[in-house]
Every structure is written in structure tokens, then in C-alpha cells.
Symmetry: C2
DNA sequence: GAGTGTGTTGAACGCATGTTCAGTATACTA
DNA sequence: TAGTATACTGAACATGCGTTCAACACACTC
């Protein structure tokens, strides 16, 4: 019996969630207000709380939705052979708000951000191992550490993409900025930038443990609730 | 006639500023309250506003201070030959709050963050040009773009350092985490990770402009005010 | 000692925010 | 038609926030 009133193509709940993703992405979680989000979705502030319990609940719903969406897009990217989700996603114009949201979430220290980071490290490690086997990637002396660093760079570039775009004279999340970014990134990841192994040798002599931390104990949250938000209303 | 009351080793103003840097760094600008900061500094909330005019003024003062401090540390790092300020700064235990603050500022979208980013790009470009001349760095096809990307990665790694540390099983901004991070980073920057030039060639064929954006027009703010905050009181 | 300026405080103000709640409208069930 | 569940609203509440302001304490000048 969902959405007895709304005759739109999407559920009211989905409209609110999308408006929240947009507002959170632009202003950040704290600065974005429930009233703003409600207005953007064309509903009353009370309805937002009616559907999501609290502002924090709304954030959790947005987190789930965006992370799931991102994961899905990433699988496609892996399938196509690219390791940079930024480039893979930049094509989809409607994914930009989600990228923006993700960028904010990573900076805000949302619980979902940690989950996303850990997931990406795990998957990157797998993908990179496969890449090494296939002769596409060079083997690393510290595969796990390298996966962590590369994920940090990828997501870090996402968080600071606004600045990258400004330096490139384009708008944030514009396709050509993303392409230019990727071109430079790929060059570095192919050629390297140090001419000799001076630094590498120096740091290699430092002997640190190469172990993963104890198993993460993060519960794998399943994305059941709200998955039918976009269902058509009667 | 500064600080007629306080008999501490530092000015009250400096104590407030340091407390603010710590609180902003831990909770972020929005969540950190003037009352909290005042309590941490051992003064009344009203005094905070008396000294800095507003919370935003306090943020500006913190920005100036940290950016200046960071710039200074970076110069030393360049002099020592390292291009990674994270590693260069990690040694100074008392710099950790500043790193934490910087990490937050970059995520919050503080005006100072843009200034810092732009400064770093400019300086990185210079340093990298020198490095190429000296035969220490490989020449890039797109030196400016490469500088932008490397700065984005450096600072992005800083923003997400909390997650890097978690994956490495250490505390954020711990020295050994920083070392492990640097080791992996240096490996990638020396060897690259792609085994062949497949991706590089593909992206190189995309023809984008390599120009810098129009001159930035950002006024170079001079750090005169508050520079004597740490002066000893009579 | 009077006058002045600065550091400092406690209490209050005004405002925006997240949240609650009583109540209305609509759709479905029987 | 009556009953019930759900979507939805307007108005209000409580709280925490940044900020203001009148007053006090101390140091300095004359």
C-alpha cells in the first residue's frame, strides 16, 4: 500500500532520498537541512522524518543506496578492464550526484565511507592479483599495501575532484576533466615518475610488517529496505 | 599591551587558536562548537569571539596558521629531496594536530583548502621540473596535469589517512603507518603498476588541451596578524 | 587618585534546527 | 457504509547554536 497519494513515476520516498543525496552532496550532511530536502522533494519536513525516522536514518538510507549503486558500476568497470571507477562512472550523467555524495561521505567520515573503503581494498587486491597473473600488471613487493594506497589515491582524487577540476579549468565532474585526470593518472601508473630506484631502495630497507589487520568484523549490511523505492506507483 | 591577565607561556589567543585547531581537526568545523573550544582553552565562549570576531574568523586564523606551518615544513621536505610532505611531516609529533586539521579542511571545502591545493600544484610543478633536469624524475608528456594529479593523490591520501591507518592496523597519523604508506607509494611511483603501455596509449589518443586555467586571481594573503601569538607574556 | 584601554566573564538573546504530535485525506477491506 | 491503515501536513516544541552586551578586573598614563 505504498504511495496512495503520489501519482508521480517514482515513490515519494525515492524522491525524498534523491533530493537528500543531492543536498548532502552539495552542502554536506550537517549544513543540509531537513527543511531544504523536504522543499526540494516537494513535501513537508514532517514527511521526511515519517519515512526515515530521523535525519541520521535518512543518511543511512542514502549511504546504502549510493554504495550499492557504486558497487554495481564498479563491477561493470572491472568487467571492461578499467581499474578507475571515476572514469568508468563519469560517462553516466545521472551518476554525478552519487559521485558528489560519495565524495562528501568520504570526507565526513560516514560509517558507510569506511565500509566502502574496505570493500574497495578487498576487491582491488583481488583484481590486481588477477591482473598480475594475466601479465597486465606488474607484481608488487607489497600487494596489500599497494592496494590500500591505490584505493586511497582513487578515492582521495574523488574527494578533491573539485580542486582538480578548478586547476583544469572545468566544472567538477565534467567528463573532459575526468578524462584529463585519467590520462595523467594512467601515465604515472604506467611509467612511474622516479627515474631511478633510489627512493624505492631507501624505503624498502625499512622493515615493516606486511600483514593485514585482524578480520574487520564489519557486518555485511544487506540492501533490502528501500530497494523498491523506484517502483511505479498505482 | 597584549595579555595583561594570562601568565601562561603562550598568549591566550594562541591557546584558543590551538584548541580550535584540535577541535576542528577532530570534529570538523560545523560540529565543533565555540563553547567546546572555549572550554578546551580554559576561557569563556565570549572571549573567543572577542579575539576572533566570529567563528568564521577563528577558522580563518586557524587556516592561516596551519597553511603557513605546512608551507614551512614543505620547504624543508623539498630541500631534503622528498616530495611527500606526509612522510616529511610525520616525524614531528606536534604537527599531527595540524595534519588532522588540514585533512578536515580539505574535506570541508574551506577557502584555504583551495589556496593550499593551488600553491602545492604550483610548487610541485617547479620542483618536478627541477627533478627532471637533474635526471631524478622522468619527463612527463603533460607535466602540469601530472602535477595536479600527484598533488590530488598526496592530499587525497591525507584526507583518507584515517582509513589507510585502519587498513594497516595502526592509529591514524602514526609514524609506522606513514612509513608503510610511503613505501608502497614510492614503489608505485618508481615502477608503475601497468605492465605495458596499453592503457597509456589508449588515453593518450584522446586529445585534450593541456593549458592551465586563467591566472587564479587569488590574493596572496599575508600572515601578519597573530603571528606573534606565541610570544611570551609579561 | 582619576581616567582610559584591554582582557575577561556570565547571562541572556535570537535564531535555526531536528523532532513531535494532533489531525486530515485518501485508499483499501469487509 | 463503517473501519482501518497509510500518506501526508501545519504548527508547535525543545534544544543547541553563534553572538551580543553590560559589567568587572587589571595595567598603564597622567
Amino acid at each position: 500500500m505504498r504511495s496512495t497519494h503520489s501519482t508521480e513515476d517514482r515513490t515519494t520516498r525515492a524522491r525524498i532520498r534523491d533530493a537528500a543525496i543531492a543536498r548532502f552532496g552539495e552542502s554536506g550532511f550537517d549544513k543540509a537541512t531537513v527543511r531544504e530536502i523536504a522543499a526540494a522533494a516537494g513535501v513537508s519536513p514532517a514527511l521526511v522524518l515519517h519515512h526515515f525516522g530521523s535525519k541520521e536514518g535518512l543518511r543511512a538510507a542514502c549511504d546504502e543506496f549510493v554504495v550499492a549503486r557504486f558497487k554495481q558500476g564498479k563491477e561493470e568497470a572491472v568487467r571492461s578492464g578499467s581499474t578507475d571507477p571515476l572514469a568508468a562512472l563519469a560517462g553516466y550523467a545521472d551518476a554525478v550526484p552519487h559521485l558528489r555524495y560519495l565524495s562528501r561521505a568520504l570526507g565526513d567520515g560516514t560509517p558507510a565511507a569506511a565500509r566502502l573503503f574496505d570493500d574497495m581494498v578487498r576487491e582491488s587486491e583481488e583484481v590486481m592479483a588477477l591482473g598480475v597473473e594475466a601479465g597486465m600488471l606488474k607484481p608488487s613487493r607489497h600487494p596489500y599495501d599497494q592496494a590500500v594506497v591505490l584505493v586511497a589515491w582513487q578515492l582521495g582524487g574523488l574527494v578533491l575532484f573539485e580542486h582538480v577540476a578548478r586547476r583544469f579549468g572545468g566544472e567538477a565532474f565534467a567528463t573532459e576533466v575526468a578524462a584529463r585526470y585519467t590520462r595523467a593518472a594512467v601515465e604515472v601508473l604506467t611509467e612511474g615518475t622516479f627515474a631511478d630506484t633510489r627512493f624505492e631502495d631507501a624505503w624498502e630497507s625499512v622493515d615493516f610488517v606486511d600483514e593485514r589487520p585482524p578480520p574487520e568484523g564489519r557486518e555485511q549490511v544487506d540492501v533490502t529496505d528501500g530497494s523498491d523505492d523506484d517502483a511505479v506507483a498505482g
